[in-house]
């Protein structure tokens, strides 16, 4: 039996497949943030007023803030089970670079949270009377924004995974880093609703995402290493 150096693609897809399979087996876990998004968004018309004009003004902000909190809620679990059952240690001492593995885990996390949130967003936009001119911007901005949020959240999750009750600390670490995504996410939808060009805001979100995909895995790998080493 000859062991060749594991190729990046096969290691990436193996970790991705495993995480998706695990989520599929424990469906309730990944439904949590989605249910949160759905419930909180549907409470706003009841709490504020069902007046379409008022709701339409608030809709971009509500959708983004709730999506952001849903991402925050789910990021805590990213490395938790791997830390508890020793998989994280094995990842650290496998010949596959940590960069690839945490990239795979974060992509899996986005596919399970950010992606469904993006799919739900137009529906909830409709519920919140978001004008249809804003829908395209909302979906594109959500897709890129939540992916960036997943990467930022993974850094915090890696840092706090060794702490039993790291929930509050996690929010303190990553919420400030979420703010730029929130600002440009909301700005792009607002611009689209008001009939302005929103390509600029989307470009900034795209730049955030490009930075997150390339640089965040380095930070995530380092933070996981620190957490495992105690």
């Amino acid at each position: 039996m000859e062991t060749q150096a594991p190729s990046f693609m096969s290691a990436f897809s193996a970790t991705l497949k495993r995480d998706l399979l695990l989520a599929f087996r424990r469906r309730s876990d990944f439904m949590n943030p989605l249910a949160f998004f759905l419930i909180v968004c549907s409470l706003f018309p009841l709490g504020i007023s069902p007046d379409p004009k008022q709701l339409a003004i608030l809709a971009p902000g509500i959708l983004w803030v709730v999506a952001l909190l849903a991402c925050l809620l789910s990021s805590d679990t990213l490395f938790r089970s791997d830390f508890d059952d020793g998989s994280l240690e094995l990842m650290l001492i496998s010949p596959v670079s940590m960069y690839i593995q945490v990239l795979a885990k974060t992509v899996a996390h986005w596919l399970l949270t950010g992606f469904p949130l993006t799919l739900l967003a137009p529906l909830l936009g409709l519920l919140l009377q978001l004008p249809s001119s804003g829908m395209a911007a909302l979906v594109i901005a959500m897709a890129m924004g939540t992916a960036t949020l997943s990467f930022i959240g993974a850094i915090g999750a890696g840092l706090t995974v060794g702490i039993r009750k790291g929930g509050l600390l996690l929010s303190l670490i990553i919420l400030p880093l979420y703010i730029p995504v929130l600002i440009f996410g909301v700005a792009s939808v607002k611009a689209a609703v008001d009939g302005f060009d929103y390509a600029g805001q989307l470009a900034v979100l795209g730049a955030f995402l490009a930075l997150a995909v390339t640089l965040a895995p380095l930070a995530i790998a380092a933070s996981v290493r620190i957490s495992a080493d105690n």
Partner: protein
């Protein structure tokens, strides 16, 4: 330590010191792990056995001193070192929601095994640890000992040169203990090297080198 010893030894440590919570656990340890030998780390609870193993395999970097893998600094040749190392810790990295086969598929991919080769290696490994017929049962339906055996099946994936085993006999039945002892002995007889901790008295023909910790 002479240059020659470094060339033949698999793993050497020079003046290794480990601390945990400001207690010195390992102080000035000079080890030379030779191929084909079995090393047992001994010491009372809390004497730093697990800490030492974690330092040796590179999970923990809280140490001073040097660790060399085949004469090269272990930090520098990490990828080579880790591709030839098999570490089995207290927690075995087995996901309860997945089946033994799915668990091992991930471990095999980390070892660089792919496709049919991986599939046959996984089945052979599961057969060897006595889980034939349980490949596709979810691990949470298996007993604690059987779950432990899923972790042990990793020993037969890939061709590691060094096994580092932390309390491998936990939760294993008498029959299993005998089997595991024979696997360790076979592995050493075929040129493999084992570093392990256990409170169980090993009954292996191969002479065992003892590394004592916790003696002040």
């Amino acid at each position: 330590m002479g240059a020659k010893a470094r060339l033949t030894a698999l793993l050497t440590t020079t003046d290794l010191c480990c601390e945990r919570d400001s207690r010195t656990l390992v102080d000035g340890l000079n080890l030379s792990i030779e191929p084909g030998h079995i090393y047992q780390v001994e010491g009372p609870n809390g004497s730093g056995k697990t800490t030492l193993l974690r330092v040796l395999c590179g999970i923990s970097s809280r140490y001073t001193g040097d660790i060399h893998w085949q004469g090269q600094p272990a930090q520098k040749v990490k990828t080579v070192y880790h591709s030839q190392l098999l570490y089995l810790g207290h927690s075995s990295g087995v996901k309860a929601a997945l089946s033994p086969r799915e668990n091992l598929q991930w471990h095999a991919s980390l070892k660089g095994l792919q496709g049919d080769e991986a599939e046959s290696a996984i089945l052979a490994a599961l057969d060897k640890v006595g889980l034939y017929g349980y490949e596709d049962a979810a691990c949470f339906t298996l007993s604690a000992g059987q779950q432990r055996r899923v972790g042990l099946a990793r020993l037969f994936l890939g061709d590691a040169k060094l096994w580092i085993l932390d309390e491998p006999f936990t939760a294993i039945d008498k029959q299993g203990v005998k089997e595991l002892e024979s696997w360790i002995a076979d592995y050493a007889a075929n040129g493999g090297t084992v570093i392990l901790t256990t409170h169980h008295e090993l009954t292996i023909e191969t002479p065992i080198n003892r590394i004592r910790l916790g003696e002040v």
